[in-house]
Symmetry: C2
Subunit: 271 residues, 2 copies
């Protein structure tokens, strides 16, 4: 079996830092479920795989792969429980443009907690979304912890970063999107009372501490009868995502036909 | 200003361990928002408060309180960012019995991750629930990390622990609860298609890895059009909680009158 080169060791260590991730345009995907998702969704992006000596699995492991002593493995891993497998992968392009089938885009404004960002990606994928938009100031979606929380949904979801919400809204308008909603605890109306919520719209979830950036757009709230502090960003995103699932997949309440999609988005993509 | 006694120092350190928490029947509440919630909801439980020298705040701090050097404070804190304030409090009794107004009880079966358990408590409180049931094998709800994730909702929510789901169901029946639903990715029906979901029922969310324990009860699923791995336990709980909020607080879809509550629960409480 081949040995990990010094250069590869150095690369892994470098990918522990934010700067290293950007510099090498790569990421580290750790744990069995994340690596499986990567191997299945984007085998073309895998650079190499590292397993600890005692790792056993029934999944097909992408090539090339290297086996290292248990002690070395835990030194390489970023997350606490990396389960004896990690993969270094090139980062996919982040150029998501919604298609005619995308009723809405979920957008994250400076969501900074890796667990929140990752959980939202995982939940969005489960809800059937094809991509997520986010603004600069959010955590790097290819940070090892975000990958871990998302179960590597990053490799099958489209992503796109914007400088700020204004830039995002401009693109949304170019895509023919009609609405731009901000999730806010003090929103003008309740999400449950907005029939047009998912009719070619963008729904923005804000930063954990400061909420959504100030921009002139309609705000929508999640009713909280308990009158407690606002819920966590990932929980708010989940409420919006599964209200969509309910409207489209509940027996009694299917969305009207998609005739409101007048125009397919054929926006050109620049990076 | 009084100095923290050796005995108090020892108590705080002891509360860092699971064993110590049980032995002293106390807990450590860290951070400004958690301490505020504790001081407001249950000032009677506060044993003492510790602030770091550089802590400044506008909230009224419960007595007795002690100021310690910054370095000492971080040694005492369990969570990474304790924000310069912590309180040692007695644990409230965990004897929650739902009242006639409680349409349903959310129950957690061996939910082991502190972040998940805490987030569920916070979200349940925001959704207006008055209590949560859980089974033995779950993380201790008064663990410092669970308190932190829940923003100390533990002090205003009722809680109750059961040996297992069978014991829980027996109590539910004694309370006159009619349904016992298990959340499962392979449930018999979708939560969106069950009109009786919140009509005096218990809804159980299972362990992160193994799901709900095997028990003869109806299972309910959350539709996942994305066909991805199941969502996180806290996200599943959120979907059930806010589907309830929608049915009770959405304009177009209020629950029928509560005439189905035939019997108020007057179960006697034993610890």
């Amino acid at each position: 079996m081949a040995t990990l080169s010094k250069k590869q060791e150095k690369l892994i260590r470098s990918l522990h830092t934010r700067h290293g991730c950007k510099k090498h345009d790569s990421c580290v995907c750790e744990g069995l479920r994340c690596c499986s998702e990567l191997f299945e969704a984007r085998p073309d992006l895998v650079e190499f795989v590292v397993c600890s000596e005692n790792f056993t699995s029934t999944i097909a492991i992408a090539e090339p792969f290297f086996c290292v002593p248990v002690r070395d493995f835990s030194r390489f891993a970023v997350t606490v429980n990396a389960q004896g497998i990690m993969a270094v992968a090139a980062r996919p392009e982040m150029n998501f443009v919604p298609g005619a089938d995308d009723d809405f885009v979920l957008a994250l404004d400076r969501v900074a907690d890796p667990g929140n960002f990752g959980t939202i990606l995982r939940t969005a994928k489960a809800a059937g979304l094809s991509g997520i938009w986010f603004t600069s100031g959010s955590v790097d979606p290819f940070n090892a912890k975000v990958l871990r929380s998302a179960l590597a949904a990053q490799f099958s979801l489209g992503l796109r970063e914007f400088a700020n919400l204004e830039a995002m809204r401009t693109t949304a308008e170019e895509c023919g999107f009609k609405h731009f909603f901000l999730s806010s605890p003090r929103g003008q109306s309740s999400l449950f009372d907005k029939p047009e919520l998912y009719e070619r719209s963008v729904i923005v979830i804000g930063n954990e501490a400061s909420g959504v950036a100030s921009i002139d757009a309609e705000s929508v709230s999640i009713p909280m009868p308990g009158n407690f502090e606002s819920i966590n960003a990932a929980q708010a995103a989940t409420v919006f995502l599964f209200e969509y699932v309910r409207r489209t997949h509940g027996t009694s309440s299917r969305l009207a036909s998609r005739s409101h999609v007048e125009k397919s988005c054929s926006l050109s993509v620049e990076r």
